[in-house]
Structure formats: C-alpha cells, structure tokens
C-alpha cells in the first residue's frame, strides 16, 4: 500500500518549519525587550545627542559614557544579538518533522533533544491556529492532538496553505483509506494568494461544504453573554461597590471595582470576538470548528473521538430558547475553544434548530427519525409517567418516591437507552441532557447509599474520559436501574467490539 503524497511533507522524509518561525515564536519577546530598554534609555540618548553628554551622573550608563566604554558596550550588544540570532537559526535548523504512513514525528532542541511521535490512528483532533501576527506572514500553527494530558505534537509554524494540505493528508492517512485523492495542485500567485488568505473565511472551500450549519448572530451572542453567570457577577461586583460608595462616600469601594471590571470586561470582550466568526461544518474527515476574529483557529475532530455530549440550558436562557453544547474528548489542547472557553464547548450558544444540526454532526449514529425525536424530548419534554409507572415520552423517569431527593426535577429525571447510546436527562430549572455513545464509554457503575436503599433508589454512572461532562443520574428506581445497568454493560461490550470509527474510512474500497 503506497499513498501518493499530495504535499511535499507526507513523503516520510524530514522537513523544516516555516522560515519565519523563530521570529513568530520568540521574536516578539525580543522586540518587546529592546523596546523596553530603548524607552528606559531615552533620556540618556537624548541628552547625549543634544547636549553633548549625559545629564545625570547617578546612572551606570552615565559612568560608562564618561569613561569611554561606549564602543565596548555597543560591541557587546551586537555580539549578544548575533548570538541570539544564531541560536534561533540553529534551533530552527534542528527542529524537524516527518510524516509517515503510521506516525507524525517531531525532533527539536539544541542541547536537550526531544523526539515526539504520535501514532496517526490515535489522533483525537487536528487544530490549525493563526495568531494575528502569523497571519500577516501567512503562517499557521498545526497541532496534532492525541489522547492524554499535554500529549500534543505541535508544528509551529508552517505555511498557511501547507498547513491546510498537511491536515488533509494526515487525516487521510489516519482514516485508514488506501485511496489517493485527486491531487489538487494548490498553488497560488504569491501576493494575491496572501491577501486572499488573510481575508478568506476559516473553512477551506475545497474540503468543507461551503455552508456552516450554524450562523452566529451578533444579537444572540451578546444576549447569551449578558445572560450568563459571568455577566451577573460583573454586575454584582460593580453595582455593589458603587452603591456602597454612594451611601458611605468611602473611595476604597471604587478601588475594588476597577480590577473586577477590567478582568471581567476583557473576558467578555475576548469571548465576544472569538465567537463572532464561529463556524461548524461536517466534512468527510470529521467535524470542523472555526472561530476567531483577529487570531483564528480551526479544528478538525475526526469521527469517533467524542466521548460524551452535554446539551444544557441555564434558566436565564430559557425564554430565548438557547442551548449550549459541551463535549468530553480524550485529548486536551493548549488552544482555547470558541468563546474563550475550553475547546470542549462546541456550540457556545444556539437555538433548538442549531442544536439539532450540531447534534447531527457530533452524534452521527442518532440521525434517524425516532432518535431525533427522542433527543428533542430529552431537551424540552417535561417528563412524567403514567399512573402505572410506564414511560410517557421514551424516557424511564424517577418514581414518585424520589421526590425526597429530587424536589423539582423528579418527573424529568430519566434515562433512555437506544442502539449504541444512552441518554441521561435531568434538571427542570437547569435543563440538561447527556448523551454517551457506548462505543466510547469505559465502564458503568451502579451505586446505592443508605438513604437510597430505604427509598429503593439507585444511581447509575457511565464512566468516560475526563472532561466537563459527567454522565450520572441519581434517584432512579433500584430495580429499573439494575436492569438498565445490565443492558448497558452488555451494550458497552458489544458496541466496543463492533466499532470501527477510529479508522473511519478503512471500509472504503482499496485502490
């Protein structure tokens, strides 16, 4: 099996990164340091130029100029800069990577060499980030996420189009297909191409369906931020001290306000600018999520990398009908996700139609008519059971005696088990639905404390990789929960063995 390389990077040989890399990575810090020194020396330099000598004599620099060491100093600075440039150059020369049919491998470091390999079939996601400065140079940072904490392979920086091509090739190698794609000669006229790149939307039109399935409206985004918990705290922390000031005239109260406003304000602004150009689309190699206004980021999640999904609705969002979707993933990226939150938030805010379209992408096994109806009931249904205890809406809900533990949510608190997934519905004030694809579940447990035993109740937990979603459901009828536990335990085994999502295209015909 040989895969015809479409970029020059996937030929299994060692390659170097974008030549501007040292500048983009460390150069800014250097510029800043030089700037700070220049500002501090401004007075001395002005004095030297206009008055023929330094003004004050309490300075080390003054001593240096008076004793005629200026030449020596300049020489030292030059040597230092030369050494730094040389260091950057050598580290760039020594930083090489290669992509073979099995692994992505990076070697770096001058004195302390590191060598990092990521197996392609273990890839959890590929992220292309373009910080603002790097965009000006038409460079991009490619990050290959594999399972585990801080287990990412970073290639920063690459040429912008090269990064896009490389991502496509890595995903193709990882998908287990043996078909070489049509080689699309992605060459562009340098200047025009760069401008187009700077202005282009995040989704590569050749790869993704042109339309993002969700459009982020400015009004909705603002509304969701205003109605979120952080905005509430901002209000409390500003209005409170201001009221205190107006009553007591104590200026200390205002001092407390400023840091809070600055901190919260920058958080809100960052969240806003990051979410503004949010896009999400399904491609043949997984879900692609892009966001960012100045610094952009664009992540591809291959199929079968989603371990749990949570759709939730804070109370204040309910009148507007907005929802938020979070995921559990096996990898954790340095990069922050949409809305400046962890990249586990796949939909910062959206209405029911948006939620349905995103769920179609993240839960490709639940797209048939009954499953969609079930998901929708999981979101909005009030729940409840008929008098003989049977379910009304496809979910097995908590029995009436669970009222002791679940004061309000008793009727809605329930579970459903479809082919290959469990749905755990809870919360009547803070509505929440957790969906776990059982092929990804690690294990399942059932628990009962003393009070629950008296009430003949039990709690079921589905264990997944660590993340913001914790799939658990308490206050269930003990016997029903036991049956649920048994059937899910069997299904976890069955879906685990039949699952081939991690080599999602291996069934396609071989060339």
């Amino acid at each position: 099996m040989s895969v015809a390389p479409t970029t020059r990077f996937t030929d299994g040989e060692w390659h170097r990164l974008h030549p501007a890399t040292p500048f983009l990575r460390g150069g800014l810090t250097l510029v800043a340091i030089v700037g700070i020194i220049a500002v501090n020396l401004r007075d001395v330099i002005i004095n030297i130029i206009f008055e023929g000598g330094p003004g004050r004599d309490d300075d080390a620099l003054v001593w240096i100029t008076e004793n005629g060491f200026v030449g020596l100093l300049l020489l030292g600075v030059l040597v230092l800069i030369a050494l730094l440039v040389l260091g950057f150059y050598i580290s760039w020369r020594m930083h090489t990577f290669r992509i073979t049919d099995e692994v992505v491998e990076v070697r770096s470091g001058i004195l302390f060499r590191t060598n990092r390999k990521a197996r392609l079939d273990r890839i959890q996601g590929i992220n292309i980030q373009r910080p603002f400065l790097a965009r000006l140079f038409s460079a991009a940072r490619l990050e290959v996420n594999v399972a585990g904490q801080d287990a990412n392979v970073r290639l920063d920086y690459l040429g912008s189009t090269a990064a896009d091509d490389l991502r496509r090739d890595i995903l193709r190698l990882a998908s287990g297909t043996h078909i070489a794609p049509d080689s699309t000669g992605a060459t562009d006229a340098a200047a025009a191409g760069r401008i187009a790149e700077l202005l282009a939307p995040e989704l590569d039109p050749a790869l993704a369906p042109p339309q993002s399935v969700v459009t982020m409206h400015v009004g909705r985004l603002l509304g969701s931020i205003v109605l979120s918990g952080s905005a509430f705290f901002l209000l409390v922390f500003t209005v409170g001290p201001i009221l205190l000031f107006s009553f007591t005239g104590e200026p200390v109260a205002l001092v407390v306000v400023l840091p809070a406003i600055i901190g919260m304000g920058s958080f809100v602004v960052r969240r806003f600018t990051k979410s503004l150009r949010y896009t999400i689309a399904g491609t043949s190699d997984g879900i692609r999520v892009g966001y960012g206004l100045f610094s952009t980021s664009n992540e591809t999640l291959p199929p079968g990398r989603i371990h749990a999904v949570q759709i939730s609705q804070p109370l204040l969002w309910r009148p507007a009908g907005w929802w938020e979707i979070k995921l559990n993933r096996a990898s954790s990226s340095h990069a922050q996700g949409a809305a400046g939150q962890a990249n586990t938030t796949i939909l910062p805010v959206g209405n029911l139609a948006d939620v349905k379209r995103v769920l179609e992408l993240v839960l490709p096994a639940l797209v048939d008519e009954p499953s969609i109806a079930l998901l929708e009931r999981g979101l909005t249904s009030r729940g409840g059971s008929s008098s003989d205890g049977s379910s009304l809406d496809g979910f097995e809900n908590s029995p009436p005696r669970a009222r002791v533990l679940l004061w309000f949510a008793r009727k809605r608190n329930g579970y459903a088990h479809t082919s290959g997934a469990v749905l755990l519905r809870s919360g009547v004030i803070w509505r929440k639905l957790v969906v776990v694809p059982l092929a990804r579940a690690q294990s399942i447990s059932i628990e009962q404390g003393p009070l629950e035993r008296r009430l003949r109740l039990a709690e079921v937990r589905v264990h997944t990789v660590a993340g913001p979603v914790v799939p658990r459901l308490g206050g269930l009828d003990a016997e029903a929960a036991s049956a649920f536990f048994r059937s899910v335990a069997d299904d976890v085994v069955a879906s685990g063995t039949s699952d081939t999502a991690h080599r999602w295209r291996s069934n396609e015909a071989s060339a």
Binding site: I444, E447, H463, R486, G496, T497, H502
Partner: protein
C-alpha cells in the same frame, strides 16, 4: 432493598482473602488513633468546656469503622464474566462496576508492608476513565499475578479503540 443488579448467583463472586481484615483493621486503628490525637488539640487551645467531646466522638466513629471491617471486607467481590470484569464493594454505600476487558489500559499490582508480610497484593485495573478504576485489595500474590496475566490476555483478545 439491597442492590443486586446482577444475576444473583452468590457463588459466582470471588471474594478476597480473610487475612485482608487484619491489614484493614491495623491501618484503620493507626489512622483512628492519629485522628483522635489531633482532635484533642482544638479543645486544649481554646479551653472549651466541652472540648473533651470531640476526641470521644472521633474515637467512637473510628471504633465503629474498625468493628465493621470484617463485614466490609467480606462484601468485596469480583467476577470474571465473558466480556467484562464485574466488581462490587461497600456495605452502606454499595457500588457495582462493570469494566469491559477491551477498555483496559494497564494492570498494576501493589503491595504495602503489612500486606506483604501476609503475602497479599492489591490489583488495580485502569481504563482511560479515572472514575472506572477498579482496585481489588487483599488477594494472595500468586492469585494477583495469575489474575493479571489472565486480564492482560483477555484484554488483548478484545482490544477496542479508545
């Protein structure tokens, strides 16, 4: 009603060694004595008239925990089913976990000083989810090693993606 989620074939459960009761009693006694000692301090510092009550309560709780140890150890059990490992423990707070062999990431065998003197080991079955880690304490070292080899070969034949 006690929780019996699995086909209630009591003989299918493999129990841990009775000798493990000694290990647990000793470790709970040590921690109980230390905690009782520490709980004396606030009463001495603040000169409360009821300061003596705190160590008494802590000591009593420790005694109850120690007294229940034999039952708690007898409640620990595991079953090697066709495709998954089933584990149970707990008296008041009962917990049953079913972990498919294919999800195994690694198996650990640990021995504390006291357990080693009694030829006991502790086997840890770890998956990608921290919360599903199964710890089987108090099995003989030979049993732990054969169980580990058995689990590894079972996991190998049922390997699943992450």
């Amino acid at each position: 009603m006690s929780l019996e989620p699995i086909d209630t074939d009591a003989t299918a459960w493999r129990r841990v060694s009775r000798k493990y009761i000694v290990v647990d009693v000793v470790s709970y006694t040590i921690s109980g004595v230390i905690l009782t000692g520490i709980s004396v301090i606030p009463g001495l510092i603040f000169q409360w008239s009821f300061g003596w009550a705190i160590p008494v309560v802590v000591g009593l709780i420790s005694l109850v925990v120690i007294a229940l140890t034999p039952r708690r150890v007898r409640a620990i059990g595991y079953q090697l089913r066709d495709d998954d490992l089933l584990f149970r423990r707990g008296l008041a707070w009962q917990r049953f976990v079913a972990v498919p062999y294919g999800r195994m990431q690694l198996v650990d065998i640990n021995r504390g000083p006291l357990a080693r003197a009694l030829n006991l080991s502790e086997l840890r079955f770890v998956t990608a989810a921290a919360s599903s880690t199964v710890v089987i304490p108090g099995i003989t070292s030979e049993e732990a090693e054969s169980l580990r080899d058995q689990l590894v070969s079972l996991a190998e034949s049922r390997r699943a993606g992450l």
